[in-house]
Symmetry: C3
């Protein structure tokens, strides 16, 4: 049904792995490497040249772009050159990811998300739809970011300062939250919907409001729906996680031994 | 000018009505039915296979997708298989609508909106640009939703709970509002710009703030611009509504007789 | 690498300047004029017909669209007919700009931004990613608008009133701010992240909160990062500005003499 090889452009300088499918109307530019068993759906641009290209189209050399094995890039996504995507990366439609973005393994990015480049993310990060990550952000492992969250980086716009937020492992950033330039969010935090966070946040904190304030330890949160204490969440959620077939406790033990 | 039949793919298993126009670079996949007098503008994907497709490309059967007569789908929109669109559906550019979305008749969806599927909407719903509707949302008739509104569904992210909001007939959700998981909004409500709504809302309530609070009955709202009392709005607005050629009062009377 | 002339449609009624590059899969419709040394990247639609087209496809005449010299339109952007773009206009990916939008010179628009048409912007306006500008907005010179800002125009939705915000020269509208219908923002203002502005704002005001309030003169803002007073910003920021090679003070002097 799909993958009819209509109107596809693959650069002779691209390296395509085994069992890779490339959708109709795709462009795969110079020096892109796509790992085995990956799927690039229709209408994608992979290895989009950086802005230097337009300065000197004749002499521009496209930096290397590495998409490791098992990727699923959904349609209409634009991925700039000079980035690395760890194993099993997947994304939704119309995603834009600029240069010097480094994803760990098993990451996901939702439809319409816009990653501005010069960003590092750990393993198992899940970004939902329409997330905006400004340059110079640093995101740990197992961080989930929900729709319409914005990571900013200019404290006194406009300026030439560019200091993005930092988010520790396991933290959750709920819908519509704004992280102000340079804030450091600890591990296992929950940033509530619509919070505007301008101060550094300690580990395991629930943050609500505008300006965002530390309300309590996430361990004190009681679910109105289940009556349980859902945080830290890895004890209660395992879908797609590396502890899916055991438990977070077991997985942590083995990780420490490693 | 448009509709030059360049680079168009229509599955032999699609059923295309009379006087249907299909734009350049479109893909119409298996088991899509498009009603008479519809326009699918350029670069659209209709009947996008669900995620099951990637699990078993060879054996996947695409579910049926029904777009009833009189549709206008603007360019670059992606509509997944397994949805139904009532008569006279129209949408803007770059709309993404996932599987199991059920629209009534005379609905509109704005540019960049992202409907995550498993969603039911009534008749005459108007979603403006860049609206995000999470799974398991239920929306009545004559509901208007403005840009950057988010309907959420996970009360303790991440979890496996998925309970979307419910919105009653005639309610208006203004720009940037966030409806938290499972909230029930009554009929004829007005949710103000940027409100974050975590509690159920009675009929005819104006809701403002974060957390969103019931401020007063919408009948008490006085327009600063006209000095009038504009709500409930159907008494004062009829463009595109079924009472356009009579009045809301007359239309209600006839509706009750029906 | 790019610009391979694959699947390109250029109307015989379009006027293309010297040294213009047009990317693969582009459509350039009737009565578009593109100035010298412009680049239209791949998958763009320029001169998209207005909604009148669908009312009478046979007899529709496409209004003129003028893109002046030195433009850089990045991929997947949709620009409607009946707009004018001053010299050196540039935009990101997937931008949507509707009819009767008038940009001055040296303006920039970020990825995913959605300009609803019937909008006037001055010179040197920089709109970042995912900005939504409603109809009947008026924006001065040197106005910068950050991601997820919304300009609204209907005071009592739904109604037939459409009064957009007005923003004075040099003002900065930070991420996620909402300008309510008809508000007038003075010159040299800073509207803070997430502010919801419903009242007119005097010149040089810092505005924070929901509802947005005038906090103090921007001259009183002290940067936590540098310890300096960064506002009014033109004294401290010159990248891409017409005073880049002299100073704002010198430039102002010469401007007054002109």
């Amino acid at each position: 049904m799909k993958f009819n090889n209509r109107n596809v452009y693959v650069s002779p300088k691209a390296i395509i792995g085994n069992n890779v499918k490339i959708g109709d109307n795709c462009c795969i530019y110079d020096n892109v490497e796509i790992g085995d068993n990956s799927i690039i759906a229709n209408d994608c641009v992979i290895g989009e040249p950086t802005s230097y290209y337009y300065n000197d189209i004749e002499n521009y050399q496209n930096p290397k772009t590495s998409i490791l094995k098992g990727a699923l890039i959904r349609s209409h996504s634009i991925i700039y050159a000079d980035s690395i995507f760890g194993e099993n990366f997947s994304c939704g439609h119309r995603v834009t990811i600029r240069e010097k973005t480094f994803f760990g393994k098993n990451c996901r990015v939702g439809t319409l998300s816009d990653i501005q480049g010069h960003v590092t993310l750990g393993d198992y990060c899940w970004l939902h739809s329409n997330v905006h990550i400004g340059q110079n952000s640093r995101i740990g492992d197992f961080v989930f970011i929900y729709p319409y969250v914005v990571f900013t980086n200019d404290p006194t716009p406009p300026s030439n300062i560019c200091i993005g937020p930092t988010v520790g492992d396991y933290s959750q950033i709920a819908v519509g939250a704004i992280l102000l330039p340079g804030v450091q969010i600890g591990k296992h935090c929950l940033i509530g919907a619509g919070a505007i966070v301008g101060k550094n946040i300690n580990d395991e904190m629930l943050v609500l409001g505008s300006p965002g304030k530390e309300i309590k330890n996430v361990r004190e949160i009681i679910s109105r729906h289940s009556g349980d204490t859902p945080y830290p969440w890895p004890y209660n959620f395992n879908r797609g996680m590396p502890w899916e077939d055991s438990s977070y406790v077991e997985w942590l033990k083995n990780k420490i031994i490693e």
